[in-house]
């Protein structure tokens, strides 16, 4: 399998003395949908900055599709598309001009640039806005425009730094579908996100970065299998008058308000055992939901394991 990106012993010390990356080594295979997770200040954006050459590294090597970014500057940049976390386009330019100009920077002739920008603006639902000033777009539209801009030269590797931050749920899901589609079409995607559900839904492999180090690098499936505990909120149809407090091996039930009970299952116990225990108490359950995203629990447990429980989820 071809490796899309390979970094070894990547280090970054900023002028302030902050060591943002402390020797990261990582490989992402071609065609992968890869999640890079970590709390604020963990080094995710620095990593992306180095790969996209916006940040100069203090040590280590970066290869994109087997080519060193220092010696094959043109080809490695051509293979790479970046959607940064911060808005970084001219607010005074028209939407179509922003995307076409980016195509020009990549050397696409004018006709091809116009065709590509139409293709991606249409796919991302922005074609009708092509003559609007980019500052007039909503937050979600600005993000989509940045995705169109990053794709206009059709890179083999797309890096997205929190692309759905501040985007409403409906739009986020349509962006997920779009990203899954281009990934299926062959584009390798690296995604950083604060929405752990997003990483769980989209990504096949995952690395967790904290304090400039990779603390986990595995497949999403393997990581989620490690999770032995599931927490649910169960809703009752009637008002719960008395206390509900069951603590058995592998099953814990606790009333959290007049209509809701928290159920925590572990050791292979299933949700039927919780419902049966409540049924014995005469409590009928009409609906239930996950208490927290499974990946979020794992993520927190990994960071807490390092003595760092303060994360933004």
């Amino acid at each position: 399998m071809t490796v899309a990106i390979s970094v070894s012993n990547l280090q970054k010390r900023y002028a302030s003395g902050t060591m943002a990356l402390k020797g990261i080594s990582l490989e992402v295979e071609q065609g992968d949908f890869f999640a890079l997770l970590g709390p604020n200040g963990a080094g995710k954006s620095t990593f992306i900055g180095i790969v996209s050459t916006l940040v100069t590294r203090s040590g280590g090597r970066v290869r994109v599709f087997g080519r060193d970014v220092d010696t094959h500057v043109y080809q490695t940049k051509l293979d790479l598309g970046v959607v940064p976390q911060e808005i970084n386009f001219s607010q005074f330019e028209k939407v179509g001009d922003v995307v076409r100009t980016q195509a020009g920077y990549y050397g696409l002739p004018r006709k091809l640039a116009a065709g590509r920008s139409e293709k991606y603006l249409r796919q991302l639902g922005l074609w009708e806005k092509r003559n609007d000033r980019s500052r007039s777009l909503s937050g979600g539209m600005k993000r989509r425009m940045m995705i169109a801009r990053a794709l206009v030269h059709e890179p083999r590797l797309l890096i997205l730094d929190e692309p759905t931050a501040g985007v409403d749920i409906e739009l986020r899901r349509s962006m997920w579908n779009f990203l899954l589609e281009i990934n299926r079409a062959g584009t390798t995607i690296i995604l950083t996100t604060h929405y752990l559900e997003e990483a769980e839904q989209l990504c096949r492999n995952i690395a967790i970065i904290d304090e400039g180090r990779i603390i986990e690098n595995t497949s999403m499936k393997k990581l989620l299998l490690e999770l032995d505990t599931h927490a649910f909120i169960l809703d009752s149809d009637a008002t719960l008058d008395g206390e509900v407090n069951i603590d058995e091996p592998g099953l814990s039930l606790r009333k959290i308000d007049s209509h809701s009970i928290e159920a925590v299952l572990s050791g292979g116990r299933d949700i039927n055992s919780a419902i049966a225990a409540l049924d014995r108490l005469g409590i009928r359950i009409i609906s239930m939901r996950n208490k927290a995203n499974r990946l979020e629990q794992l993520f927190l447990s990994r960071l807490r394991g390092k003595g760092n429980g303060e994360v933004e989820g």
Binding site: I87, F89, Q91, G104, Y105
Partner: protein, 257 residues
Amino acid sequence: MFSDHRLVAFETIVIKEVRRFTRIWLQTLLPPVITISLYFVIFGNLVGSRIGEMGGYRYMEFIVPGLIMMAVIQNSYSNVVSSFFSQKFQRSVEELLVAPVPNYVILSGYIAGGMARGLCVGLIVTLMSLFFADLGIHSLLITISVVLLTSLVFSLGGFINAVFANNFDDISIIPTFVLTPLIYLGGVFYSIELLPPFWRVVSQLNPIFYMVNTFRYGILGTSDIDVAWAFTMLCLFVIVLYGGCIWLLRRGTGVRS
């Protein structure tokens, strides 16, 4: 000079730059024309009629080349400094930095944009000056080459200013406190023959003095300096400033962390 993809990138930067200064023509093209027209009316007509001749020419004819050069210098400089800084400020410069555009193409694109505005304003001011003075051309080659070199030098200067600027104050300090005094003391309004010997020597340390006088030579055929020496100085400025810009881009000063 450029291979295909680099030529496309260069054209893209230039088109973007020209589109920018023509889009905001009320801020970029009109003000210098109004300011220079006022110079023509006040210094050329009203005050100039009482001064009489300077350097063997009517005062109005004497100051026209200097005023054209002033417009070229100020606009070449301010186009590059404001455009590149505003792209840094909005972070849209990152669009260029992530793309496979070599530093010399980035620099050439911005410089061409600055020169385009400088020459555009210079042309408008020249056409305006025809209402006030009968202008002839003594040497077309010298006139055109000195305008091109001067706009190139100040576009490069504007680029360096933009690279180091961290806020909007930083892009107005040099034009206000350095460029304007140098232009006014660069022989736009007077011949250095009028100055005492000490100040005549000091004036010769001012690079703008050489540009104004060479341009004046191209138009009127009169100059306070040796034209060949002035061209040598201009070429040296271009080489040093270009080298400095490329070095700063390579280091990532002001644009990469």
